[in-house]
């Protein structure tokens, strides 16, 4: 079991939904995917690298024959996978505090979902529907989501300075360099080994 690799935590959760409710969830997730304003809170929670919801209809589990018994389910299932930085408690607390409306919209259609507030019952529910990761890989174990965003800002600023540097005098370069330092100074945070988390 390895839910953690470097600075990233892998979370898996599965919740049952009555089939008619699945269509409501699909509509909400469609809106979430197409209206930028609705995603703003997720973007602002800048410790999520990747996240997804996957609806698996009760007859949608892969059936390959070859002796595999067919599934006979009453519920559709909502799978949630997240890759985030920090601890499980920090993540769920932040979800409850910042994303409560959005989360409620998506998860309230799952059986027995208590709502994201109060957070104690929410945590109890998530702990119940979560299952552990057996193998977890990240290409950037030493970096957080913010590090990745910052690194791309530094790269873009450097590329632009390099272009300018070919065609300017030493004095002009110094001025451009100072501007570059001002642009990137907030994005030079140290990457490295993950802290010990609990």
């Amino acid at each position: 079991m390895s839910n953690i690799n470097g600075k990233v935590y892998a979370m898996n959760a599965i919740t049952p939904m009555k089939p008619w409710k699945t269509w409501v969830v699909r509509a909400i997730l469609f809106a979430l995917g197409h209206v930028n304003l609705l995603r703003q809170d997720v973007i602002n929670l800048s410790f999520i690298e990747f996240a997804r919801w996957v609806v698996v209809p009760r007859r949608g589990f892969p059936s390959l024959g070859g002796g595999q018994a067919k599934e006979d389910l009453k519920y559709d299932y909502l799978l949630f996978f997240s890759n985030f930085n920090g601890t499980w408690n920090q993540y769920i607390d932040a979800f409850s505090a910042v994303l409560s409306i959005g989360l409620n919209l998506v998860w309230r259609w799952s059986e027995k979902f208590p709502g994201p507030i109060p957070v104690t019952l929410f945590k109890e529910y998530i702990a119940r529907v979560q299952f552990d990761t057996d193998y977890y890989f990240t290409a950037y174990p030493h970096a957080t989501a913010n590090d990745l965003k910052s690194a791309h800002i530094v790269q873009a600023s450097l590329d632009s300075l390099v272009q300018r540097s070919h065609e300017c005098t030493a004095e002009e370069f110094k001025s451009a360099y100072l501007n570059f330092v001002i642009q990137v100074q907030a994005h030079l945070g140290e990457t490295g080994q993950a802290p010990i988390v609990f």
Partner: protein, 210 residues
Amino acid sequence: MPNQSGTVYGLTILSPIMNDENASPSHDLQIRNYLATLPTGEESPFALAPGTHLARLVVMDDVIFVGAPAIEEHLQSKYLVFESNCDGDLDGYLTGLAAAAPQHLDAVWNHCVGYPGAANPKAFVDYMKGCQIETTFFFAAVNDKSVTETLCALQTQRAVADFIAGHQGIEPARLQAEFAEFVTRLESEPLPKPGSTGSPRAIKTGGRNE
């Protein structure tokens, strides 16, 4: 398309695991045993193959009963969940995986129903796509950069921080010359491998806060 966010692809695969009462240990346990020994750093199959940002493999034993009055029900098969956040083109990504680490893929998926092996890339891709579930909503914090671009940017970020720290208050002509050298050196440096944690940096001491 919900599987895609910008240039990043959210791949979700559920492969049914063989349910053979005579297998000892059971197939799901054999998968877990193998995954427990599989490297997660630079030697990971996902590091050897191009294009994986993050990936996970999970044995899903069953669905979860959330308590009455919900109905308690169970799956007939256990499933191997493969969740990958990878660069663009799915066929190219899966073919790259099959080419880079066939022995690892076979060791894991040989315990799944209908797995054809990685030796035949076309059959492998078809099998994976046959087990794919469409992602309903996919979020990527950075959705317009490849793995290579991101590794390069992280390397640049680190080098720039060191360059700036070592070039404060330098006269303009020297700054310009050393910057040009720095850029040339940076461009010629090999990229860190995916999954690498990089070399540890010396702790800087003597700051105002000490």
